[in-house]
Amino acid sequence: MKYKIMVIDDEKIVGDMAKMSLEQEGYEVETFLSAEPALARLKEKKFNVVVTDYKMKGIDGMEVLRTVKRDYPETTVIMITAFANLDAAIEALRGDVHDFFPKPVKIKELKASIRRALEKENAA
């Protein structure tokens, strides 16, 4: 069975590029331009990893993190942000984020991070 990855970012290009590169790894990828429909989708389907932007209009990345950790604790969250903001990183880490990347994100590193998350999930 394929692992399922969700990508949330308000810029289409980020989702498009992530989808294309992660699908090459054999993952099933769904992308969302905002958090609201993404969270609705989580109610219907289990995702192994959620990659979310930190700063978004409406529900932001921190709230996505909190919601996922509360309602779907087995799902891993990776945060990406346009601003290499230390406070944001600390806040996210406290919220049990798996990884935190400033944009531009090296795709190789994101892939490695997802692999580690999935290995952890399998070990658990």
């Binding site: 290009i13 980020v14 498009d16 590029m17 294309m20 346009a82 944009k103 531009p104």
Partner: protein
């Protein structure tokens, strides 16, 4: 980045020197001059770092967003403004056009960043009035053709373009928006597209547009004296990197009358929504309905012969071009059918025909006396005759090479030779080629006799696009049949046809009995990565409808196996799974075309002018060259005593054409007769570099044997110092002091810049080295940089490469170590002069790098002849 402390030191030394010697020029004046010079170079360096970084981040290996692009560009702009400011002061604002050109490029970049459509422009533009900034208005195809005419001065038929602004006006007046936006959202069927095309064909050309067409028709008739034109599409695709080969309508032989032009105009813009064109747009990631169409109207060449040139072979051999030719107008070649002549031409300095095959040309298309064109039989005596003379091939090849060099990437060129024997360029669009670094498939898959359970059926045919495809055979006797083809089929047809594009999303592979490497179908298959074979004799007979086959097309040949070999398919990878296919990605990356390419190559050969700058890199290059020149000039025009001491030619055993400007302690003695010799050089870092450059073997004088391509001669042509004394163009200059050197040196198309402080205090020491070069083909350019990078990295440099640029830095080494590295860098600078002629493969890169590091500098031109 350069350490300010070391610059200050250099300047202080200079001041000290001038104070002691009391020259006519005050130390303050000189200090200010050199200070500006350094500031220009520093800002240039920072700007180039940003460009390099953007090239890396936007290269497909990173997830990036517009926030990053905007911020990086703001950094670049700040550095460039600073540099322009200092440059203006340094040169007494001698180049007022330069800031203007900067503003133009800046506004183009901001347009891309803001995603704001350009202001509505004129509805009609004559080719002469189309500039870099008009790509959106004129559409990619016509804008590029106009560049061929306006920048390269090649012969292009006279004409004008009805712009994308006219298209928008047409959409508005005929109320097509609501239908278009429905299509844009993706909820549409064939019937919506048909309705839209009907509405366009019967639509009204807006009065404003119509009025401009009337005037343009009149002007074109007067200027060109022609009465018949070709009306061609020029889609306003944002990136201009896609070919759109054969996707849209072209109407030939249109009488030069307003009503006829308008009728043809409607036909062409309607074709934007044809089933075939929309299929292509979907596959290349262009949202259907968002593209705008400009339409070119150009005088028809009453062609004796015409054809297509690929400036690189489709399989990526950049040293060879292909010219196809047929009698009459060019339609015969670009759409299936006719047997054409095919020439393979080596891109040497004097183009050389490698092979030719003269086709039997039964029919030709010519202009008819009435409307349009007619097909007629070729007179018997011409059928088997070559369409081109040796001289004509040479002319066409030379023009094609210039065009490729100008655009910096392989081109698909349409040409025609008229009754007077003059060659005209009709089109110069991008050509999708395969890079040779990715072999289609490992050789072991082509097992003779077949793989387990899959006997070999037969071999043959000519590969257009490599790959592996498997499925049930679908025999399409007529191109239209392919529409009924089930998903996953192997399409087999008698002829190639661009109509197959509609089936391309569904097809596993395409095989045709006849066809050419230069057809529209071939271009599309390469672009979309569909395994494709043409000229497979009797394929329609040998293969049965519904039969299961696996097709392998690779450099080794084409093989068909019986059945569907899943193990092969699994290893074949996914075609087209590249970022390039993403519309959003291309749109953002588009900005790079205004930043990184280097067009302004040779201050001695080209018109080295501000108005020729087309990218930020060009502007930076211009400023660098002219700053060096300015420093030299100002020193030369000073008092005689000052001149003698500060700027002198350096007599070297090799013709490096080097001027030296001593800022204090860089030269030992008072140079005699206005010339310095090697023994006079006291500058520690400069001496070390020169030692390296003069190292036995590193600097070769003899031409590299074989493959000495187009650019070699210019590389060996070094600036003659005597002929340069009255001109500021093209100095090789070293500004030196005892501990410092800033060297700008150019060999042909290679630009080296080295800035180094080398003192007893290791923590102050640094080397900044930059290498840039254009002109050769992309593959070789990247190999060249790869080789230099491997070598520099092994000496401890941090190296960044993107596009045409390499930036290497190193700091904190002790003096002895610095001298060692400088010596090797000097050797590398000399060695790299001749790299373009070799480097036939990736293997050469590794090999030559390894040898260089073992102090072996011989270059064999062919990797096969090098003993392992």
């Amino acid at each position: 980045m350069l350490k300010n402390s070391s610059i200050k030191k250099a300047i202080d030394t200079v001041s000290g020197m001038f104070n002691r010697r009391k020259t006519a020029v005050t130390p303050e004046q000189f200090r200010a001059l050199f200070d500006r010079f350094k500031k220009v170079l520093d800002s240039n360096n920072s700007a180039l770092e940003v460009i390099t970084d953007m090239g890396e981040k936007l290269g497909g290996d990173y997830l990036f967003d517009i926030v990053y692009v905007g911020k990086a560009y703001a950094d670049l702009k700040r550095e460039m403004e600073c540099s322009l400011q200092q440059f203006g002061e340094l040169t007494g604002n001698r180049y007022p056009r330069l800031p203007e050109v900067f503003k133009q490029i800046d506004s183009l970049v901001l347009n891309v960043l803001s995603e704001q459509p350009a202001l509505p422009g004129p509805f009609v533009l004559f080719f002469d009035d189309i500039s870099e900034g008009s790509i959106q208005a004129a559409g990619g195809k016509i804008a590029q053709l106009a560049e061929v005419k306006n920048h390269l001065g090649l012969e292009v038929p006279a004409g004008f373009v009805i712009t994308t602004a006219a298209f928008e006006e047409f959409v508005e007046l005929n109320r097509l928006e609501s239908l278009l936006s429905r299509i844009k959202e993706g909820s549409f069927g064939e019937s919506d597209l048909e309705e839209l095309q009907e509405l366009i064909l019967h639509g009204t050309v807006p009065p404003g547009v119509s009025g401009e067409i009337v005037r343009a028709v009149e002007r074109l008739r007067k200027n060109s004296g022609s009465s018949v034109i070709a009306v061609r599409s020029s889609a306003g695709e944002e990136d201009g990197d896609r070919s759109f080969a054969g996707q849209f309508r072209t109407v030939l032989g249109v009488p030069l009358r307003p009503e006829s032009v308008e009728r043809a105009y409607r036909k062409v813009i309607a074709s934007l929504f044809s089933a075939k064109a929309t299929a292509y747009q979907r596959q290349t990631g262009h949202p259907v309905g968002s593209m705008k169409m400009a339409v070119g109207c150009m005088a028809m060449v009453d062609a004796v012969s015409s054809g297509v040139i690929y400036t690189s072979t489709p399989d990526g051999d950049a040293q060879t071009m292909m010219i196809s030719a047929a009698w009459g107008l060019g339609e015969a070649i670009v759409e299936a059918g006719a047997n054409a002549d095919l020439y393979r031409v080596a891109k040497d300095r004097e183009p050389r025909v490698i092979t030719n095959s003269i086709g039997r040309k039964e029919s030709r298309i010519v202009l008819s006396a009435e409307d349009g064109t007619i097909e007629q039989p070729v007179p018997a005596e011409l059928r088997d005759r070559a369409c081109l003379s040796g001289e004509q091939i040479a002319v066409l090849a030379e023009q094609a090479m210039r065009i490729e060099r100008y655009f910096g990437s392989p081109r698909d060129i349409e040409w025609a030779v008229d009754k007077q024997g003059r060659a005209r360029i009709l089109q110069a669009r991008p050509l999708a080629v395969r890079t040779r670094e990715q072999p289609a498939k490992p050789a072991q898959t082509l097992t003779p006799g077949g793989n387990a359970g899959h006997p070999e059926l037969f071999r043959g045919g000519e590969m257009v696009q490599p790959g592996i495809g498997a499925g049930k055979v679908f025999l399409a006797g007529k191109p239209g049949d392919s529409l009924k083809m089930p998903k996953g089929s192997v399409l087999v047809a008698p002829h190639d046809s661009s109509l197959f594009v509609r089936s391309m999303p569904l097809v596993s592979a395409i095989i045709t009995e006849r066809g050419s490497q230069t057809s529209h179908m071939a271009a599309l298959c390469r672009e979309l990565g569909i395994p494709t074979i043409v000229n497979m004799p009797d394929a329609m007979q040998l293969l049965k409808h519904g039969q299961e086959v696996t097709v392998i097309a690779s450099d080794e040949g084409v093989v068909l196996y019986s059945g569907i070999d899943r193990s092969l398919l699994a290893g074949a990878g996914q075609n087209g799974q590249q970022m390039e296919a993403l519309y959003e990605f291309r749109k953002k990356r588009y900005i790079l075309r205004y930043l990184s390419p280097l067009h302004l190559i040779d201050p001695l050969m080209d018109e080295f002018l501000p108005e020729r700058c087309r990218s930020m890199h060009d502007i930076l290059r211009f400023m660098h060259e002219k700053s060096v020149g300015e420093l030299v000039e100002q020193a030369r025009t000073g008092s005689a005593g000052y001149r003698r001491k500060t700027v002198v030619p350096l007599d070297l055993p090799v013709p490096a054409g080097m001027l030296v400007m001593d800022m204090g302690g860089g030269l030992l003695n008072q140079p005699l007769k206005g010339k310095a010799v090697l023994g006079d050089v006291a500058s520690v870092p400069f001496k070390a570099i020169l030692r390296g450059m003069l190292h036995p073997g590193a600097w070769r004088e003899d031409p590299v044997p074989l493959n000495a391509g187009d650019f070699l001669s210019s590389m060996m042509r070094l600036p003659d110092i005597r002929s340069m004394t009255e001109s500021t163009a093209g100095y090789n200059l070293a500004v030196i002091s005892r501990d410092y050197v800033n060297m700008s040196i150019r060999f042909g198309y290679h630009f080296n810049m080295l800035d180094c402080y080398c003192s007893e205090k290791a923590k102050n020491n640094h080397i900044y080295f930059r290498f840039a070069g254009g002109a050769t083909d992309l593959t070789k350019r990247s190999r060249r940089l790869d080789l230099i990078s491997r070598i520099l990295s092994s000496y401890g440099f941090t190296v960044k490469i993107k596009g045409d640029l390499l930036i290497a830095r190193l700091a904190g080494f002790a003096r002895e170590e610095m001298e060692h590295v400088l010596d090797r860098t000097g050797r590398l600078i000399a060695f790299a002069r001749q790299l373009d002629a070799v480097l036939a493969s990736e293997r050469d890169v590794i090999l030559f790098a390894e040898r260089f590091l073992k102090d072996q500098y011989e270059l064999a031109s062919n990797s096969h002849s090098i003993p392992r």
